[in-house]
């Protein structure tokens, strides 16, 4: 701690947050590994999922983080694909964030799948092109390769060569396809009315963008000690001017989407939609998600304080929590009505994630935190192209 006191006050707060992040990451890793031991000894029987409710917290966590990765790529693309140069100062951080969140998502899913290693040969050798999951795997793999490649290029200082631009555009296109097929994984399930619909990929697109923006609002401000005067002039301009406006617009759209989906669900007579929507809408989680997690940050973005780092940290953090709840409600909600079990199952399925499931999420997130911390220390994430 003596080093902190010797530094300028702003540097001290940056270091404090950086140390805190490291501590959270290491603690999470230890707790997550403890849960991992449970998984090794008891297998997936330690999950609270069942044949009635098949996909639980680890899958919703996967959806949340890979869509966040999508969103962070969108934000990075504002500079690198669409030429909004103000976003260059945060672009490298966004790309690294996209890499990290993708890794978190893959870990969460990998530990949920029965035979993840087998995927390596049975997926490429069987070409199951009718499966949305197959396409999702293909596009996310392509996206992952391009994303790593893009980060490697900008890490070498190559921001604007033909190749670098091409890889940037290609990763943007790949992630559009990837998130759309992830949406289709749910949206194509006609037998599950709560999920079914052609708008799911669009819903995922908008919420993914919001997720990326919220991560930027929270983590970039934290990286600079919740003080925009610690940032470069360009970064501070992007964070205080354009970002709150874009964030508010996208958040507004998501609020409209959420209310529309809820109202439709409450009005319909289809039991799998109506009963589930009633169940979700009447829960504390949903009310928190809507009012505290979305409406409150939206209102904050309408005030003059939206430019300030503290406001952005609060708004970004609340939206992240809301989106995480939203993903969980969505993934679990589509399975709450027992599929064809007759009067044996005459209520909604009762599901609460087990300690192992929560541990997997903690493990994946803490690995992500440590990866991000590594990037922050060693990869010069504040770099930007020379003017």
């Amino acid at each position: 701690m003596s080093t902190i006191t010797n530094l300028a006050p702003d540097q001290a707060s940056i270091s404090r947050i950086s140390n805190l992040r490291l501590m959270v990451g290491v603690t999470g890793l230890v707790l997550g590994l403890l849960a991992g031991i449970g998984l090794l000894s008891g297998g997936h029987a330690t999950f609270n999922t069942s044949s009635l409710l098949t996909w639980g917290l680890p899958v919703s966590t996967y959806v949340f983080f890979v869509l966040t990765s999508t969103g962070l790529t969108f934000v990075a693309s504002l500079a690198m694909v669409f030429g909004l140069k103000d976003f260059y100062p945060v672009a490298k951080r966004c790309v690294w964030g996209a890499v990290v969140t993708l890794v978190i998502g893959f870990i969460s899913l990998g530990l949920e799948i029965g035979n993840p290693i087998r995927m390596l040969w049975v997926i490429p050798t069987n070409m199951a092109v009718t499966s949305p999951l197959w396409w999702m795997g293909l596009f996310y793999l392509t996206y992952a390769i391009l994303l790593f490649w893009k980060f490697h290029l900008i890490n070498q200082g190559d921001w604007s060569s033909q190749l670098s631009k091409l890889v940037g555009i290609a990763s943007f296109v790949a992630v559009i396809f990837a998130h759309a097929t992830l949406g289709s994984v749910f949206g194509m399930m006609a037998m599950r009315p709560f999920w079914y619909g052609p708008m799911v990929p669009v819903y995922f697109l908008i919420t993914a963008f919001l997720s990326g923006l919220a991560f930027i609002m929270l983590f970039i401000n934290l990286d600079y000690g919740v003080n925009q005067s610690n940032m470069s002039e360009g970064a501070a301009r992007a964070m205080s001017r354009q970002l709150p406006a874009i964030f508010a617009i996208v958040l507004g759209l998501v609020i409209v989407f959420t209310i529309a989906k809820t109202m439709t669900g409450l009005w319909t007579n289809v039991p799998e939609n109506k009963i589930v929507t009633q169940h979700i809408a009447s829960s504390f989680l949903f009310q928190f998600e809507l009012w505290i997690g979305m409406v409150l940050p939206f209102l904050l973005m309408l005030t003059a304080k939206r430019h300030e780092a503290k406001t952005q940290v609060v708004a970004g953090g609340l939206v992240i929590i809301a989106l995480f709840i939203g993903r969980y409600e969505y993934v679990v909600g589509g399975q709450l009505v027992p599929m064809f079990k007759g009067a044996w199952a005459d209520g909604l399925i009762d599901y609460t994630p087990s300690l192992t499931e929560i541990g997997i999420v903690v493990l994946a997130v803490s690995i992500g935190i440590l990866l991000y911390a590594f990037g922050d220390k060693r990869l010069s994430l504040s770099d930007q192209p020379n003017a």
Partner: protein, 245 residues
């Protein structure tokens, strides 16, 4: 080419669960994970209440959504129309369980429905997830028959290990012909009131074809487009919508 299918007469089903028990014995099923269940549905209220016993095996659909969503082609359809899972290819993503409108699939590694966990009493060795004292002689991972390995999805196979050995060109597999009894699916063979029939849906002279035609056989959840190869007979062949009690 034979297209195996089943007909279930709901007017004859008494809900005795003999079919479920036979299936459990034949396929080493664990409690709560029956390939074949006799569900019951209650519908309407006084003064016109209704209770229906509803046997539910895998529907072995003509257009199985479970097969279409499988990212590894582990779920496949044989030339004779039987939907099976190749455990050597299954990665345990469970998307097929999500996509099956009839809820007939099970994941190997689930929390036990009752304690003690039978799998702990008879722990598995090698590839097997458990090792019951009695098990059928036919372990066939490529067709999803036998004791499941860890991390895979399993389901009713129409007793593939039996029907696949039936003489070619057989139109019906029933108890009536002693020479064919060994090939009859366990649930059909055990059904005391003869509510189940099994045969070739493509053969116009088979008993299943005649029953479907004469008694207007109905398939479940037609709106999903899965086109089951299990048909139901009787006035009760309609599944009421979900109600929360």
């Amino acid at each position: 080419m034979t297209k195996w299918g089943m007909v279930i007469d709901l007017d004859k089903c008494t809900g005795c669960q003999a079919c479920s028990t036979a299936c459990q014995m034949e396929n080493n099923r664990l409690p709560g994970e029956n390939y074949q269940d006799v569900l019951y549905y209650t519908d309407r209220s006084q003064p016109t209440p209704k209770l229906v016993w509803f046997p539910r095996p895998c529907m072995h659909c003509e257009e199985p959504s479970c097969m279409h969503v499988c990212p590894t082609k582990a779920t496949f359809k044989t030339e004779e129309g039987v939907v099976l899972v190749d455990w050597n290819k299954c990665i345990g993503c469970k998307y097929c369980m999500i996509a099956c409108p009839y809820g007939v699939r099970f994941y190997t590694d689930e929390k036990p429905v009752i304690e003690p966990n039978v799998k702990d009493v008879f722990p598995g060795t090698g590839d097997l997830s458990w090792n019951p004292p009695y098990k059928g002689p036919q372990q066939d991972n490529a067709h999803g028959v036998g004791i499941q390995p860890h991390g895979v999805v399993s389901k009713c196979t129409f007793c593939y290990h039996k029907i696949s050995k039936a003489p070619k060109g057989t139109s019906d597999l029933s108890n009536e012909d002693p020479a064919l009894r060994e090939y009859v699916p366990a649930c059909v063979r055990t059904c005391a009131p003869t509510a189940r029939y099994f045969g070739d849906l493509d053969n116009p002279n088979s008993e299943v074809s005649r029953l479907i035609s004469d008694r207007d056989g109905a398939r479940l959840l037609e709106h999903t487009g899965n086109k089951p190869q299990v048909y139901y007979l009787g006035r009760s062949a309609v599944v009421p919508g979900f109600k929360k009690s």
